[in-house]
């Protein structure tokens, strides 16, 4: 059976079928959840941001002018919600994010070595400034084009390229440190 397209599901939602919205949530929660967890480095915050995103998206469905682009549109809302949650964390804790549990806990365990690598990756990712982490994740984990990233974040492509470049350089340096240690 062929799954209904996003556009068709949105039509159903707009016609009063809320269950169709549940199907959209099911469809996108894994990908969006991965981004939120990686970005915020905290499972509880990520899940709260994700729920908040889907609720806000429902309230704003009229703004989704291209129904087949629902995924990108809701992703853009999540990116902004993550910015807000990250800022809240800064205000609350005085740190950018913690990475103590999310990446390591969320990923599928394979071996001690793999867990150690995962911990190192989580730690390194958490050291990046939020804007670099955001750009890096969107580019390399979500495989978005710079045009899509620009539309989603409101940041110029040239700036995004620079952020990704700096993130890559910083991550190389940080990973090298973990190897030396």
């Amino acid at each position: 059976m062929t799954a209904e397209s996003d556009g068709r599901l949105l039509e159903r939602v707009r016609a009063g079928d809320r269950e169709a919205y549940a199907l959209l949530v099911d469809r996108y929660q894994d990908r969006l959840g991965r981004y939120a967890v990686r970005m915020l480095g905290n499972q509880a915050d990520a899940e709260e941001a994700l729920q908040d995103t889907f609720v806000r998206a429902f309230r704003s469905l009229a703004n989704c002018t291209r129904p087949e682009g629902f995924g990108a549109w809701v992703f853009g809302i999540l990116v902004n919600r993550c910015r807000t949650y990250a800022a809240r964390r800064i205000r609350a804790d005085g740190i950018i994010v913690t990475n103590d549990d999310a990446v390591g806990r969320a990923a599928v365990p394979h071996s001690e070595e793999r867990d150690a690598i995962r911990d190192a990756i989580g730690w390194a990712l958490g050291q990046l400034p939020a804007e670099q982490r955001e750009a890096f994740l969107l580019k390399h984990v979500e495989d978005l084009s710079y045009d899509s990233m620009e539309a989603m974040t409101g940041v110029r492509a040239a700036s995004l390229r620079m952020r990704v470049f700096r993130a890559r350089e910083e991550l190389r340096k940080l990973l090298a440190e973990t190897v030396r240690d």
Binding site: Q29, D30, R38, Q51, S60, A62, V141, G154, R172
Partner: protein, 184 residues
């Protein structure tokens, strides 16, 4: 022979692995939607926004606003001026909303949109309309009483705050402005 793999490739591969979320996310989202008073009527947001989209500022009003801003125009600079005008109430259940006009003098711009807390910072959601023959862009948005951060996006890429309005930088160094809509 030692395999020399870019450590960043391993990092990216790991980050692409799925995460485990609470299995009841969809249920919680649907419950939140159902409990939200704003969701009491099906499609209310859709109709609400569509209805408001039909509100357009007349050229005369735009020109009047432009005249008010004329003293603020600086050569070579975009100037932004949110004209916060609780001009009239929205009929019906949105009676407490205030029609808030955002105006930008940007003769060089090919497109201008408004982003803010009220539209989830969606760059494509709220385009400004350019009046014929001048560089005045505007849009009127119904806003409930409250404090909102916002910015203009020129030509889809350049974020601009409003030098005349209270402003702040967001977490990413982008300029934001703040507008406060008075209570009902």
């Amino acid at each position: 022979m030692t395999e020399s793999r870019d450590p960043l490739d391993s990092l990216i591969e790991t980050l692409k692995e799925p995460v485990r979320l609470r299995p009841d996310l969809t249920r919680r989202v649907m419950a939140a939607i159902a409990d939200d008073p704003a969701m009491a009527t099906e499609h209310k947001p859709v109709r609400w926004w569509r209805r408001e989209w039909t509100i357009r500022v007349t050229p005369v009003r735009l020109l009047a606003t432009a005249a008010g801003l004329a003293g603020l125009v600086v050569t070579g600079q975009f100037l932004f001026r949110p004209a916060v005008k609780p001009a009239s109430s929205v009929a019906g259940s949105e009676a407490s909303n205030r029609l808030t006009q955002f105006v930008l003098v940007a003769p060089e711009a090919a497109a201008v949109t408004l982003v803010g807390d009220f539209n989830d910072w969606n760059v494509g959601a709220t385009p400004l309309v350019r009046s014929v023959g001048d560089g005045v862009w505007s849009v009127t948005v119904p806003l409930a009483p409250g404090r909102y951060r916002y910015a203009f996006v020129v030509n889809g890429t350049v974020w601009r705050g409003d030098p005349e309005a209270p402003g702040l930088e967001d977490d990413f160094g982008q300029p934001n402005s703040v507008v406060t809509i008075g209570g009902a």
